[in-house]
Symmetry: D2
Subunit: 292 residues, 4 copies
């Protein structure tokens, strides 16, 4: 994060009118500190202050030094993907239920944001993913993800079949509901439900997790985040397959498509209140054993 912040971006969870008051209080708090405030269009409408201009989510990244997000982890994922090109640090405020990414409680919002602006914070670098679909030799789709890139079946067919390559080396042929490539950030999300391991947030690794594989020994593999994972879709027939980003956006895949997943060049900076431990959040959310 820059030492001198000029402009703060505010982004609230979509369609949550009741967040308006919190967002406005936060905007006023920032303005009172002589900061410029820009909000995503919907959020700006809720804030409804003449000093706070609205901006499209796709372009807000180029105008701000820090983004403050109010919502759940889903909102953070959405913002991270849209700001991926701009290297803007993110702060997450939850709406009442602790998130892995939104670790500031709403009641502590002004206090914690104040501390962060005063330079009392912890910074953490996380990587994101870049996915590319190649069809008949041409790139037909590219996308980014913060949690995971998922190749999954459509609603009916039980299994899709695909081949997996790591840095060009053949790994195996898998028949499954699908396959997840997760960042450390995403390792506590869908990949965990599918039987994947928890990756330490700063580990330079991705988890490749098959979803309900037909072969019971098809197990999660953890590989370097410098690797490229290539998946070739096989024999879809009348089945359908999709590429899904963070469980939020998806694109249809076709037979013989090659999907390449690799680390996105730009990393993402998460700003946390200082003294916060990732394991505190894990223990709380997963009901893990506390110190006696």
């Amino acid at each position: 994060m820059k030492t001198k912040l000029n402009t703060i971006g505010l982004i609230g969870k979509y369609g949550q009118e009741q967040l308006g008051q919190d967002m406005r209080r936060l905007a006023e708090f920032l303005l009172a500190r002589n900061l410029r405030v820009i909000a995503e269009n919907d959020t700006a409408r809720l804030i409804n202050l003449p000093e706070v201009k609205g901006e499209k989510i796709e372009s807000i990244g180029e105008k701000i030094d820090l983004a403050i997000v109010i919502g759940g982890d889903g909102t953070m994922l959405y913002v991270a993907r849209n700001l991926a090109d701009f290297e803007v640090p993110l702060v997450g405020i939850n709406q009442g239920r602790l998130g892995f990414l939104t670790d500031i409680a709403p009641g502590m919002m002004l206090e914690e944001v104040g501390k962060i602006l005063d330079g009392d914070f912890a910074s953490e670098i996380r990587f994101m993913l870049h996915a590319e679909v190649m069809r008949a030799g041409k790139i037909v789709h590219t996308a980014v993800a913060f949690n995971d890139v998922v190749i999954n079946k459509g609603e009916l067919a039980r299994l899709i079949e695909f081949e997996v390559y790591l840095d060009g080396e053949f790994v195996n042929n898998i028949r499954a509901d699908g396959m997840i490539v997760a960042t450390p950030t995403g390792s506590t999300a869908y990949a965990l439900s599918a039987g994947g391991p928890i990756l330490h947030p700063t580990l330079a690794a991705m988890a490749v997790v098959p979803v309900c594989p037909h072969t019971l020994s098809d197990r999660p593999i953890v590989v370097s985040s410098d690797s490229v994972i290539e998946t070739i879709i096989l024999e879809l027939g009348d089945q359908r397959s999709y590429l899904t980003l963070d469980g939020q956006a998806s694109v249809s895949l076709q037979d013989h498509d090659h999907v390449y997943v690799r680390k996105l060049t730009h990393p993402l900076e998460l700003i946390h209140p200082s003294g916060r431990s990732h394991f505190d959040v894990l223990r709380a959310k997963l009901h893990w054993g506390e110190k006696l």
Copy 2:
């Protein structure tokens, strides 16, 4: 199985022209034993013998004493669902790859079918499932399944949410990719990939297996086959959910739908060559350890 068989039904895997010759050899073999032979329409066309009449899959069951199926386990599931009302025993001949249900190798077809007709066989009773979708107090769909009834998400949304009741008693609220109710027959299919246990083929029990549940302690539950499992679909919003039968047929579900799954009244009789063990098939297909 009746002691005196008069009419045999023949059903081949759909669209497999190369099965024609095998089917014809089998039909001639049966006719030579003075049995009547009826075939499913497509199969009859491939057999192409004047003595073998074609019949629709939906109605063939009322005219035959035994059904011989050539194909994979998928074909057996399809036939079992269509013959569910008629209490016709099934024999399964695989196309080269051993199946759980199709345990006669193609090369042994005439020999093994001959033995069965001579009374040298093992009979096994399996139960099937009946599913009912109730919407706003009315039954809008009913279906049968041999392997499993699956409630699953559509292609995009990562999670659906539903409540589960057992014989009217609340079990829990689950957020997951879906949930499988599997018969013992289905316990070695999709349910196994989703982490379910193997149920002994003749056990009077069903496995209720969540698919990629968000709560890691949502584990497979095994309940009596006399129980009724009720699932209430919650808060789909713009997500979609489907009821899928044996991974082959599906119907769309809506918010607040109640899905009831119970044992189908009519059981299904499988005819195996005598001396065959279910565990032989499991060991072969799952690469289990053999006797030293």
Copy 3:
């Protein structure tokens, strides 16, 4: 449970001096209802009332009509094994932490026990296990268990190898840390930690669960409680193997030992407060989703 109770047995968790007061209050409560009270020797010492005679745990079963146990699930298992021959119903009072078997809270003790004595209760029949070790053709050990019979490795060796047979039919050869045969009661204990399914408490089935098997497709199998599971220990060499009952008692096994596990002839009756659901306990202990 008999309609006319004469003598109640009291058994407290071993070595818990602080339970003395609760046990004494309970004894006085029972005596005031003109019931005879007998306590296990240690418990009798803590109760310290002239009307309450002590008795050995092994023989208390033949003198009482109902056993009230104060402790945790571990105490219930210990009592169940010792009373297995006597068909004495059991009531479990926990010490503050809800158990699967001890579902009466200490603060509700007198009220709930009073209701049970008044005939307001739910009765549930569970089965126990009988294990037999045969060595060189002779039975060298027999034992009972309520949760599970476990065949496990000693402290050093990583793997033991054994063959499994179901009703005389070969199942497979397993190399693993061990294998659990669990009752429905035990399915929420060690077997669950090892990846086994939850069996409905009244299901007539046992779960056979390999512990950390070397072959990843060695999965839990659920079989009828009328089956006999035979395990043959192979090639221990200098390794060691043990038969463990409910995780509390164990006996050393040798190479070529045959271990037979089957349902114990006498069932066990558990007495619960009426209106209690097994799933309430499961949801509370496993942090499952509640009704919205």
Copy 4:
């Protein structure tokens, strides 16, 4: 590996007399290439050539430039631990069953070793683990491991309890059969059986895998190989706990012992025939799907 090799060490699986002939052929092959050959004492006795001196396993490392091991993966682990201080590269020849570490088939032994000596090989750097037991402020035991350091229960008690810290930060309190800290090399061994992920062989990470944890959400965690994992043993009571290295050596632990596991300073160099893929071995051993 050095470009100019002078002395080769030979080490065979302990107690395998039938390896003598192979070892001797190999020794003669090496001597014919004007290399010095030293063998581990038992192996030297089997080779029985005056030119091949015997040496203790603990000290052979300081005298050789390359160690050739004939046996299984277990023999490689044993040799790796004993040569850990000497940075001697290892070549593994299996005894007929492909291993993850012993990937040269016995029939190809001379041909493949010849190629390696001619400079045609692939070199791979793997890290090992260092474990330290601190009791009452003093280091009472240190050890090295190549696959895994395991903290496990004794033969009877079902659960041990311990606290886990990562680089001084509290992770959680676990009640389980034990916990495995595995290298990438060990990730395909015991850790895989316990539900851990497969780590790519060259990934700078360790997997921390609970064994049969009581809390179902206690899942494998993958952390940087630069981290220190500290485990504090709690409340053993009359239970027992052990620290086990590669499943081969063990030391008894006591209540309140602190166990520190970290990467061993010296890495290990494995020499493979060129053109060999780690995934080839995985596919073969785990029955994974091959390219169609």
